[in-house]
Point group: none
DNA sequence: GATGAATGAGTGTTCATTCAT
DNA sequence: CATGAATGAACACTCATTCAT
């Protein structure tokens, strides 16, 4: 049943199957045959739409990154006031968005991190992602803190967000978004409190 | 040339080779043949000292965990005074010990985390490790904070430590231990400051 | 953009692409996809004009054979006198024609010979080709030599021509047509000298 | 049933199976699985003794080359007198030795020639082989002919030998060694006759 | 204790072919 | 007439594991 214009449909379908496969059996056992079976297509189709398995994995990682970016920007759009605190909370919330803390997403992110240590193409993507979070945080902190403190605050906040995410992922239980966000908010408030002290 | 008492020597040798192999080519390409070649022994010997490949990986993870534990306790022994702050700094420093932030250690930890999501034996070890850090932190915070705050502080600190470690590992550059520790110290001081406010 | 009378154009186009593909990557890597890409058409069209891949290969071999035949006959037409020597030189020259000693032609001939050992359709073509050369030579030698000697001379000359061609093809350098022809001319003259001796 | 010191045994066994496989189904269908089945061993053993399939093919080509070399030298040893004619006849006979004109050998040589056009490792071997024949011939002709004529005679003789071999291989019938040798002897005598004329 | 020969299942990938559009 | 989506078998190769020596 071949049809034209299937490319975007098949690509989404295969990326979804990849996330599901990694969720079910882990990246090392997520063979092309397994993914294809989940997607309900033949093995060969993956080479047809992605050059090879690595192409599929790269596309999957891009998909997760884009979902993260959109999660943050969706929250930006809902903001009533453009204050650093509001923006920073949006960033925090976006990082704990459902698309990022679901089982498939968490397991796939972890697998990508491990793979990225030896796969240049994934490494590049992962560093872009890391930098983006830091830049976003730094940009907001810079509005109320001198450069050096802003940087330190951004580094700390980025680490805290990633750490909360990581420990949530590894805990085995479902991610307690509210609790994680609260801890991050607290850190945020402590950093912003410094700002006021510094200004006064 | 069979010798007696080779077991501990061979085991250390093979664990070291495993760390080196993961550092060089990643866990998925760290085949038994590759590890054996690095260790300068035959393929078959791994089954002899460890039940199978999984046994070797499990032993390697235990090795890393023990190194972490020892890194913390070594710093405990150097303490002049047993204050929560001193102990907590020791924990922080221990987590950024050379044995934990070296290339082989970082890459192997990452690989283990990813694997642990689908391998019960590794998952058990990893959760023990996570719990240990949280318990240690919580125990110290408890000395100066009420239970709920102590727990929150411990969760935040654990996440911050892991997050700093993670972002250091993923950055690609060599780990800036001093900078990471400073950020953690700052978080520590902010939490301890809360304690004084609460008590006064 | 369907057009009428495309068949001969497409067929030539695809045969040319096949020769080019074999020249570039060898017969075993000259996949339908590769050939189609070189020809600038879709994969499926090959089945449309040739039954299957084998049909395309067979047509390509026929193309080379026809080029050889035409190369000889073109030289026949230029002859001023119809002597055995002149005809035999024309045969020699025709076999070293540009269409036969170009890179694509040489590589494709070699590949066909190897394939012909296990592919009946190609084998048939190849034997027709071999017989044709022998018959042509034998027919000319017969004009000046008794049957047994004519046959031996034709066998020797056919082998020499093919051998010169083969060693030229395998040498890796560009084919030295002049040198090869000279060696064949010499052999020819030696055989014809026998004729004169025999007659006198 | 693993044993030590199997390497030379297994290597010969697999090279023989390769020749048999190429004889039966041609090089393109002589898969590792097919060869292993013929040899009565598992697929994986080929990677164990030869790096990969190409390693096996290369070893097989070396085997054929060595058999040729030995065929010539065996005939050298039987010579009563060291004359150019005797040596050159030994070379001719060696090239039509049973090891070179058997079905498996002929089909494998043809396949190697075709492959050598795009496989550097095979090409190197094939050129060594071509050069060796030419050098041997040239060395003998040089004893009775001036350099330029010796070279031409060697080129012609090499081409004639290869051509006779080639047409014998492609004919489909069993190789008529006697007839081929006779044609080559005749060419040889004609060249040597030139020598006498030149000297007188 | 230690080796390395041997297995065979499993991997990613390629490919000729088919066929709805 | 022509496309390219889709298949599924076949391929070379890798690998953890076993076991006779």
């Amino acid at each position: 049943m071949p049809k034209v214009g299937m490319q975007p449909i098949r690509r989404s379908q295969l990326i979804a199957a990849t996330l599901e496969a990694v969720d079910q059996v882990g990246m090392s056992d997520a063979s092309i045959a397994y993914i294809a079976r989940l997607a309900g297509v033949s093995n060969g189709i993956i080479s047809h739409y992605f050059q090879d398995k690595n192409g599929l994995l790269e596309a999957t990682m891009r998909h997760l990154m884009q979902a993260l970016s959109e999660a943050v920007h969706a929250r930006y759009r809902l903001l009533r006031e453009d204050t650093p605190q509001a923006r920073l909370r949006a960033i925090i919330d976006g990082n704990f968005d459902e698309t990022q803390v679901s089982g498939p997403a968490m397991k796939t992110w972890l697998a990508f991190w491990a793979s990225s240590m030896h796969q240049p193409s994934l490494r590049r993507l992962q560093r872009v992602n890391d930098q983006r979070l830091y830049s976003n945080l730094c940009g907001q902190f810079r509005r109320v803190l001198p450069q050096p403190q802003a940087r330190a605050a951004a580094r700390g906040m980025a680490a805290l967000i990633d750490g909360l995410w990581l420990r949530g992922a590894l805990s085995g239980e479902s991610f307690d978004t509210r609790q994680a966000a609260q801890i991050a908010y607290d850190y945020l408030d402590l950093q912003l409190a410094k700002a006021e002290t510094a200004l006064s």
